[in-house]
Amino acid sequence: MKGLRIIVTVKQVPDTADVKIDPKTNSLMREGIPSILNPEDKNAVEAALCLKQQHGGTIIAITMGPPQAEEVLGEVLAMGADQGVLLTDRAFAGSDTLITAFTLSRAIMKLGKYDLILCGRQAIDGDTAQVGPQLAGFLELPQVTYAEHISIEKGNAVVRRGLEDSTEWVRVKLPTLVTVTAAVNAPRYPMLYNVEAACDGSRIIIWGAQELKVPETMLGLNASPTGVKKIFEPERKKKGQIITGDPKDMTGILIDKLQELNML
């Protein structure tokens, strides 16, 4: 094999886990909040870089968003990716997860052959974890979600999946799509050495609806079947209680508590 061709999907998101919600419009209030590369997408980029280190190859990062989303491609290039693709067009605005995945799939088809698509499990601004799996659907690829470890062996991806109460090992033939969680690695920092090359424009392709040859009726808000009915802040769970003291006292308190709650 002549090295891997890896595509990584990335998204620019607001830099905070607790964005405020506008009670009038039911939408997220993003003004004044700095944007960052979605954390688990950063893990996906790191996973791609590690695989490239082992097997050689090229890494192409792809994002869909407003023109300023180019910033996250700059960051990913400075981490060591080879190329960035920005999908930006007014016609893309308002896409739900399905149409986002559809649009990404068309761009990826246009990019040609690949061995592996890596996605972050979910974006911190929507938490849906849908785009990765939907993208695999449009591309008719096998998918492995919640990856905590990935290796490539003889044309297969071997993936450890972190499930709620267990781990699962999966072997799957390339090409495939894998979504990763934060547990997969600790992402490296982008390098200042790479800033000049990342920003000179030579490594970023910009495509709109025309380049993708998709009719506008299949794009953006109008094509999106999902409507947001209501957005709300989840009620904060009660804080846990931390028992302190010497082990004997702590055990006593713990047993009393559990009995109080009829759990013993």
Partner: protein, 379 residues
Amino acid sequence: MDFKLTKQQKLTRNIARDFARHELEPFAQEWDEKMEFPREAIAKMRSLGFMGICIPQEYGGCGLDTVCYVLTIEELAKACASTAIIVGVHNSMGAYPIYLLGTDAQKKKYLSGLAAGKKLGAFALTEPNAGSDPVSMETTAEQQGKSYILNGTKTFITNGGTSDIVIVMAYTDRSKRGKGITAFIVEKKFKGFTAGPKENKLGIRASDTCELIFENCPVPATNVLGPFGGGLNAALEALNLGRVGVAAQALGVARRAMEACVTYSRERKQFGRPIADFQAIQWAIADMATEIEAARGLIFKAATLKDQGASFATEGAMAKLYASEVAMRTATKAVQIHGGYGCMKDYAVERCFRDAKVIEIYEGTSEIQRLIIARDVMR
């Protein structure tokens, strides 16, 4: 006029900000307290390109502009002012003079190592009896065959103990006074060159500041940096850039102090409401924000002039003077807003207060900046 950062500048700032937040901020207080050189963080920064920000890529640097440089120093300083000066002195006073004045051979031998972060740089002008007035220095360099023999003592040298390469100013002809000083590239491993113990300082405590002692230290004649007798000019040239960096360091400290006030004044309640509700506090913060913005303007102006190849010495002195005094005023007010808590080491404003004082002194005191500015204005 366009106040927008370029793509490069924005990306650089984001990289520095992200790094500083995770790798400096959590440890800065402990480093300060223990006078601990941030060895691990610097090691990481060496491999990421922080040690050759403006040096062209052909010499192993990043090839970024001066605005990128000041943005980086500002972000580092906001988290840890000591780290900012370690990086700042290395870039502007260690690597930059060699880039500016070095021969091809010197650039190959020294600049590439510095820019790639393999070697740490320092700059030695100050002596026990020569601070603001470098012409009164006593260090000498006497020619002996193909070498110069250095004798003398430099004092308060940043990166003194940790550096590998030091730019040293010494008299080659005392009778010529300012025109008899020559700059030398001196390797730490040269015979007769030792560093004294780390000074125990008021602020900027994590950077190691040392005395450097030269006792019959032979330096090859090929290590003369720039024109013979042009050492003072070389030093002033390096200081021009250094000062813009120090101004950015001051800006980072001021921003840190102000942001601490915004958070603290919302949380701290007295007389039944957050102290942020009192106009006295709001006005103090408004003044901080205004002065910080003005300082930023001066710094960007000086850095932009440099990038355009224009002279920026006066603007650099203005930026250093103003930003360091803004840092001091902001930090003083910030301690006040924090009350008794502001005097405690657990609060970052306590460190900002001590760091700001030092920033008003090194790379030319406020008085010396005023002297430079007045000389230009009243010419």
